[in-house]
């Protein structure tokens, strides 16, 4: 879900049209009125409130500062560890993808890209289904070894967080470093070898220095995502692994200590800003360029035994890492492996659809209990509202940005700012600004729109910019009326981008966890919130229902990813 952040569109390149007959100042301001007032009310005002909170005496107490420092320390620690591990897996994987041709490669590549866009709850549930105390591995081992306690302790450990981060972000390393590697001129390596460099020195003196910009860019980006990660840490690590994000959540929801939460949010925001600036510096500073060449030229099958071993081992590792968690989830959701709560005696293991059918039943007959089916309805409603809202805000903004004037040059970074703020911070902003209104369920899609808007703008804007005036002129000279022109030229191009943007908004809203966890009312849960609740409740039935819901969410998200990939404009770039 984070792709378009990197997909900065080239602006002002192609000739433009009815938009190019640009509206004057007044027209432009009118165009901007909706998106800007939306951001002013729902982003900048909450943000100002957070600032106000965090600079109060209440927030800046010694105890708070110490806790904040401690939390920042752990956040950095886990992010650094996660980044190193991701590089450890990602670099050989990038080498594999950039250098070798082998059967099933395209499948493997697609496989590594999927987690990047999966909702965090789904990823957490997937790892839980595989390695959790009720996961496949533990239950099978307990059965096989006839023991009563799960032999693998995974959930609630730092290892779980790290593994999930590796799972999430390896694809960044594969794409960025792999791209750089595949464009690498093989003659440079041949030259180095003929000059007396053995394999080790070849890497140390030639390959690594040339990869440095790509390596740095990938590392900073991975670090940024690990730094702001929330869902996987809360769901797989638990509240005891207090990163800034988790602590903001805990302080606002459990201790109701909003000043401290605000202080943490401020620190979080400042760090994110710094890392983003570093990232921008890194990618613009990557000046050393080898001769551009086609990526296919460097591909070949593994020839020596050493290469064959490397390729087989890497394919195995990647497949295990990426397939197992995603496969474990649907498998676990239809497997009866243990007794449900209240059931006695031995349970025959086998196939069951019970977890899915239970989703529609209010077994507890309690008023506060919301059946999962209703959570799904809530989610779909929120998602639909998010699509409409974000398109309504996104279209005028994207139009305005297509031909940037001085006004737009100022506005462009402002529109992207919400991306820098984490979802949890957005949620906190809503709490401190609209606390009383949060009983209304429609606040949730507003927050989702904030998260989705930068993606929607970044998807629409390149499409709007690529509509060539020549096509339109040609159509008009062939006798098409303005409406016909719009219908035959503009709409077919825009349709794909619009569909893509809408799918983005829809999928983001469906999977959004950070902001929703803070602002959603207990009586209006979404699918991710329901999954989180089920996961934190005891009993096999609850666990099974979490698996079932997460499987459904995964299917929905996968369908969304598929749609976005298919409607991607040719040449829009991977990152």
């Amino acid at each position: 879900m984070r792709l378009p952040l990197l997909q900065r569109a080239k602006r002002g390149a192609a000739p433009r049209s009815w938009l190019a007959t640009s509206p004057g100042w007044v027209g432009r301001l009118l165009l901007w009125l909706a998106p800007l007032s939306f951001l002013a009310v729902f982003f900048f005002m909450p943000f100002a409130r957070i600032l106000a909170y965090s600079f109060s005496w209440e927030a800046l107490s010694a105890g708070n500062l110490q806790l904040a420092l401690h939390t920042l320390g752990f956040t950095l620690y886990q992010a650094v560890l996660s980044t190193l591990l991701t590089l450890l897996v990602g670099l050989p994987a990038a080498y594999l993808m950039a250098r070798f041709a082998f059967p099933g490669k395209s499948v493997l590549r697609a496989l590594t890209a999927v987690p990047f866009m999966l909702p965090t709850v789904v990823v957490a549930a997937g790892f839980n289904a595989l390695l959790g105390p009720r996961g496949l591995m533990n239950l099978l081992l307990m059965r096989g070894l006839s023991i009563n306690t799960p032999p693998i302790t995974f959930v609630g450990t730092l290892g779980a967080i790290l593994l999930a981060h590796v799972f999430y972000n390896t694809t960044i390393v594969i794409r960025i470093v792999g791209n750089s590697l595949s464009r690498f001129d093989p003659k440079l390596e041949q030259a180095a070898r003929s000059l007396g460099a053995d394999r080790r020195r070849l890497w140390w003196h030639v390959v690594l220095p040339l990869l440095r910009p790509a390596l740095l860019a990938a590392a900073v980006l991975v670090f940024l995502f690990d730094f702001t990660s929330f869902g996987v840490i809360l769901l797989l690590g638990g509240p005891s692994f207090a990163t800034l994000e988790v602590e903001i959540y805990v302080q606002s929801l459990y201790y109701l200590n909003l000043p401290l939460a605000a202080l943490l949010a401020l620190i979080q925001l400042a760090c994110t800003l710094i890392f983003s600036i570093v990232y921008t510096r890194v990618i613009t500073a990557s000046t050393v360029q080898t001769a551009p060449r086609s990526a296919e030229g460097n591909l070949r099958g593994p020839s020596s035994l050493r290469e064959k071993l490397f390729v087989s081992a890497m394919v195995l590792v990647i497949s295990l890492l990426f397939v197992l968690p995603m496969a474990a989830l649907p498998i676990r959701s239809v497997s009866q492996l243990e007794a449900n709560r209240g059931q006695r005696g031995e349970v025959a293991p086998g196939f069951t659809t019970q977890y899915y059918t239970e989703l529609f039943v209010n077994r507890r007959n309690s008023i506060t209990y919301v059946p999962p089916f209703e959570a799904a309805l809530n989610s779909l409603g929120y998602a639909a509202a998010t699509v409409i809202l974000s398109l309504a805000m996104g279209f005028p903004a994207a139009w305005g940005l297509v031909k940037p004037g001085p006004l737009e040059r100022v506005l462009d970074p402002i529109l992207i700012l919400p991306l820098g703020a984490s979802a949890v911070t957005l949620g906190l902003g809503f709490i401190v600004s609209f606390g009383r209104w949060l009983i209304h369920p429609w606040m949730v899609p507003l927050a989702h729109t904030l998260v989705a808007l930068p993606f929607v703008i970044r998807t629409l804007q390149p499409a709007l910019a690529t509509i060539p005036a020549r096509l339109r002129q040609a159509a008009a000279s062939l006798g098409a009326s303005p409406f016909k022109v719009w219908q035959t030229v503009d709409w077919p191009i825009l349709r794909r981008a619009t569909l893509s943007a809408a799918t983005f908004a829809f999928t983001i809203s469906l999977g959004e966890f950070g902001a929703t966890a803070l602002i959603s009312r207990p009586e209006y849960p979404t699918i991710p919130i329901a999954i989180y609740r089920f996961l934190s409740q005891p009993g096999g039935l609850n666990y099974g229902q979490a698996m079932a819901m997460a499987t459904l969410l995964m299917a929905l998200a996968a369908a969304g990813i598929f749609l976005i990939e298919r409607s991607r404009l040719p040449g829009a770039g991977e990152f």
């Binding site: 003659k187 440079l188 041949q190 030259a191 070898r193 003929s194 000059l195 007396g196 360029q289 001769a291």
Partner: protein
């Protein structure tokens, strides 16, 4: 001395090199001459140890190099697009091979002054290689290959990317350097002018096989195969049918008389080379001038029947001409 023995190499199931055997002696420059796709570059990579051949051996002074990895072979390589390390400046590029041999900084500095002087690049040490012109980059690449004092130098179309004037200038410099250093060298090119300027001996490569080797003047005088004659542009190759034992051959240009080394049977199909005659001796054939190109002080005139000759004055377009050609028997 380098010995290449019976190298076979396939690429995607197609044979790329077939039964390649040749020697390179001390103080000798051998030129691999052939069109693109004839496997020349691959052969260099095999000799350098950077590609593996399906079979065959590469020997140096009798020692089989098969188990020797490329970085221990001590063969210098110069590429067409230079392959300079973009992250290093001129000094570090040229010093690369010396650092790999763990030379002392003092020794490296001395050697660099030497080789940079040899290629006329003294004072370029701190320049970024990406800021250099094509000719300068090529000289850095040459200096880099020369610096570790390799036992063999190999050039893969080293001047292909440069313009003609620069090419000739660099070629002269290269010839002088090879002469001074007395290094054996293999020079790969598709350009026979380049080959004739640099090579002591040429190997003509066609479809993965060496079809002719020798001193270039000999090869020119006796191309021996129709392909070689056409590739070198020696003359026009035509099909003919032997009419009788008195060496009369029927061709599209009429019945011609030719002397062959061995006798042919009646009705046998052979190939003839119609070489533009230098003197007035030769067979006269007429045709209309179809194309006139000014080439190195004279005019290459191609007739409408495919023959070409060299003339001192340009004929008019479509002018009827009678030209003299020498007729030779191929294979």
């Amino acid at each position: 001395m380098l010995e290449v023995r019976e190298i076979e190499k396939a690429y995607e199931g197609q044979p790329l090199l077939r039964d390649i055997s040749f020697d390179v002696h001390e103080d000798e420059t051998v030129c691999l001459l052939g069109p693109s796709g004839s496997g020349k570059s691959t052969l260099l990579l095999i000799i350098a140890g950077l590609e593996k051949a399906e079979s065959g051996r590469v020997l140096w002074d009798g020692e089989d190099l098969t188990p020797v990895p490329p970085h221990l072979r001590d063969f210098g390589l110069v590429f067409q697009d230079y392959a300079l390390f973009p992250h290093l400046d001129v000094f570090d590029n040229v010093a690369f091979g010396l650092r790999m041999k763990n030379w002392s900084p003092e020794r490296i500095r001395q050697r660099l002054a030497e080789v940079l002087g040899l290629v006329d690049l003294a004072g370029f040490e701190q320049r970024r290689v990406t800021d250099l012109s094509g000719g300068e980059q090529q000289r850095v690449a040459l200096a880099r290959a020369l610096a570790p004092d390799p036992r063999l130098l190999m050039f893969d179309e080293p001047l292909g990317a440069l313009d003609r004037a620069l090419r000739e200038q660099l070629l002269a410099q290269l010839r002088r350097i090879l002469h001074e250093t007395r290094l054996p060298a293999i020079y790969v090119t598709h350009d026979q002018a380049e080959a004739s300027m640099i090579a002591d001996r040429v190997l003509l490569l066609h479809e993965g096989q060496i079809v002719r080797q020798g001193v270039i003047a000999d090869v020119w005088a006796h191309p021996a195969s129709a392909w070689a004659a056409e590739f070198l542009g020696v003359g026009k190759v035509v099909d003919g049918m032997v009419l009788d034992r008195r060496s009369r051959v029927e061709t599209p240009y009429g019945v011609l008389t030719v002397k062959c080394l061995h006798e042919h049977k009646r009705g046998q199909r052979i190939k003839l080379l119609l070489r533009p005659a230098d003197s007035n001796a030769g067979v006269a054939i007429s045709g209309r001038a179809a194309d006139v190109v000014f080439q190195q002080g004279r005019f290459k005139v191609t007739l409408d029947n495919g023959l070409f000759v060299y003339m001192d004055t340009a004929p008019k377009k479509s002018q009827q001409l009678s030209v003299k050609v020498q007729i030779e028997c191929l294979e």
